[in-house]
Amino acid sequence: MFEYAPAPESRSVVDLKPSYGLFIDGTFVDPTDGGSFKSINPASEEVLAEVAEAGAQDVERAVRAARKAYDKVWGPMPGRDRAKYLYRIARLIQERSRELAVLESLDNGKPIRESRDVDLPLVAAHFFYYAGWADKLEHAGFGPNPRPIGVAAQVIPWNFPLLMLAWKIAPALAAGNTVVLKPAETTPLTALLFAEICQQADLPAGVVNILTGAGDTGRALVEHPGVDKVAFTGSTDVGRAIARSVAGTRKKLTLELGGKAANIVFDDAPIDQAVEGIVNGIFFNQGHVCCAGSRLLVQENVAERVLESLKRRMAQLRVGDPLDKNTDVGAINSAAQLERIRELSDAGSAEGAERWSPPCDLPDRGFWFAPTIFTGVTQAHRIAREEIFGPVLSVLTFRTPAEAVEKANNTPYGLSAGIWTDKGSRILWMADRLRAGVVWANTFNKFDPTSPFGGYKESGYGREGGRHGLEGYLNV
């Protein structure tokens, strides 16, 4: 047997402070009412740092700082000068990418292989890409001299903390807006390190403000009357509440919500690569991905073969220490999320689906869930309808392409879908009929800053990324 020795990435590149304040108007300040909470490492439950909890008065301060920066500095600044700051931030992110990757893995639980090879390169790429747009907005297709909106309130989730920050902040700043961003309460640390990078880049005070806190902080922020634009990525329930609170105001809103994507494998698919795509679709980032391919639809005449290959491949997944460079699947982000995954998985078993996981030893401390597939799942099962947001795949079969489309679309969500076939015409035929914002062909979970991303139906509205991503931050 060829056993890989532990290959841990060093933690020493990260210089964590015991506590962090709020980043308002270019400096770290204490919260007005002094509240705080702890951010832990989900792989060990160790406390990483104490983080300030922003209250209503802090939101007021941050929005006012953002308004002042918008009126006096960032709004009037020529696009080419805004671009200089964005390029500088992008370069600093690249320079400090190892530090950011290690911190992301510590705070989130995702494997270092992913934060190093996927998250951080994409974060830098997003800033580089939108830096390029800052002085070319007239050519973005929104008419002559498009204007920014003003102050953007941005609330982001815990699954890709720094990447979601980049998706929000880069286009907002390129278009000339200023932002107040609230990272998720379980993963605030890389956003705070990003605030340090803004200082290092000499970004004018108030252009980026970071408020840490939980749901109450987020609510106070999106409901604040001084905000012109609200951008939210997270659950459909919270997205609905935000849409309600924003209704009837002048605020412009974009929402990127949940998903229950179908990954559709036809009998002429390249099987080995399809299996890689299935694994990447659902076990990437522990399945904490809104566009995860959580429903596998496989043509019945190859179902047995695909499942055999899938199980063999799953047995190779290395679950464990997120900082080990050979880890494929890390820790579940929080106790609450683990509870939800367990509850839905138990429902899957109770409703009669057959559960399978490869043998794997899970660590004693921290939050862990073995990669799991359910076979014999029907459209009526909860695990085929509700977003699990964990490493749990529901396998369904289909007979004809029409049935595949019907099953794939039979969900209130519509964020993403995958098609696996060697036949180009079938890819186009399917893509025309799938009600999903992103359709991947013979690949899955591929992201690029030039490519717009967003959903249909209850997966939200508005697009992030690409030229389209500017629209949400321009008065058009």
């Binding site: 020795a5 002429d268 390249p270 690569q273 690949t443």
Partner: protein, 319 residues
């Protein structure tokens, strides 16, 4: 072997009787998505193999080396030296394992055989008008018989790429069958020359064709064309031997050859073997590296691990 694999095996052995049956079968194999295969190979290359795992991998890689010299300038003296090195790669360290085999041209086989006699190191000879394969069949078979008669116990043959690319699969099949017969008890390694096959679909088809015709090993390259072994090509071949064993119960070995020069590269291949076909193939009987300069790098890294100091190339014999 189960009843189903036995019947599958006899069904598959019928395929070689007809051009149509061969074509239908080979073109019915699942396709290979180029982007996906290359991405998977690259991902396997990011594994971090350190300390004890590295030491284990280096010794295994040394045992898997087919120490090769295939030059017009080869002399009896040079191949004897190579054979001596194959037996004791690191004269300063008796714990260093011997390599898998020595691989030479047929004319050099007798000189190598003298040195290797009685040892566990195999003697491989290229044959069948290596590297182009552009000779009449009877000459290729005579080449093979001569190599075996001179003492080779492994034959590295080249397939007829022209016939393969033109779709004359039966011609390729029949040549492999004939060469296998001419090899007698010697193990037959079938060189696909993947650099000339152009697509991964072709690599998969050629792999199956070689296995169906009775090849004991499938090998990527001659080392004589610009594109030699690559990770994605080897991945497709490993998937083929895995699927072939599943279908027939017969295990076939894999030998990437050409372009693998560093310990780091070799370890990437071992990781790929480990995670694609599993420990059954992590053995010199089932996986080999066709290489020459790789061995010295393995020895230097091995010395670095055992002594803690990195000695320069002057401390290892040049071949």
């Amino acid at each position: 072997m189960t009843a189903t694999t036995t019947s599958a095996r006899s069904e598959l052995s019928e395929l070689g009787r007809s051009e149509t049956a061969l074509r239908t079968f080979l073109h019915g194999l699942p396709g290979v998505d180029q982007v996906g295969a290359e991405q998977r190979a690259a991902q396997l290359g990011t594994r971090s193999i350190k300390t004890t795992a590295k030491a284990q991998a280096i010794d295994l890689a040394i045992r898997m080396v087919d120490l090769t010299t295939l030059e017009g300038a080869d002399t009896p003296g040079k191949v004897r030296a190579l054979a001596a090195k194959a037996l004791r790669p690191d004269p300063a360290d008796p714990s260093c394992p011997h390599v898998g085999a020595v691989c030479v041209y047929p004319a050099m086989v007798p000189y190598v055989a003298e040195v290797l006699r009685g040892s566990a190191v195999h003697l491989a000879s290229v044959a069948t008008a290596f590297p182009s394969g552009q000779a009449p069949l009877e000459i290729k078979l005579a080449d093979t018989r001569a190599a075996v008669a001179a003492g080779a116990d492994e034959i590295d043959m080249v397939i007829n790429r022209g016939a393969f690319l033109a779709g004359r699969y039966k011609e390729v099949y029949d040549e492999i069958v004939a060469t296998k017969e001419a090899s007698g008890d010697a193990h037959l390694k079938v060189i696909l020359e993947t650099g000339e096959l152009a697509t991964y679909d072709n690599v998969r088809r050629a792999s199956w064709l070689a296995m169906l015709a009775g090849g004991d090993f499938i090998k990527t390259s001659t080392g004589k064309v610009p594109i030699a072994a690559t990770m994605p090509v080897s991945l497709v071949m490993l998937e083929a031997v895995r699927d072939f064993r599943e279908a027939t119960g017969r295990q076939v070995g894999v030998k990437p050859a050409g372009g693998i020069k560093t310990t780091k590269d070799a370890i990437k291949y071992l990781v790929m073997v480990n995670e694609t076909v599993g420990p059954d193939w992590l053995d010199p009987d089932w996986f080999r590296f066709g290489a020459s300069s790789l061995l010295n790098d393995l020895l230097m890294q091995r010395t670095k691990l055992t002594t803690g100091t990195y000695s320069g190339p002057d401390y290892f014999t040049l071949d």
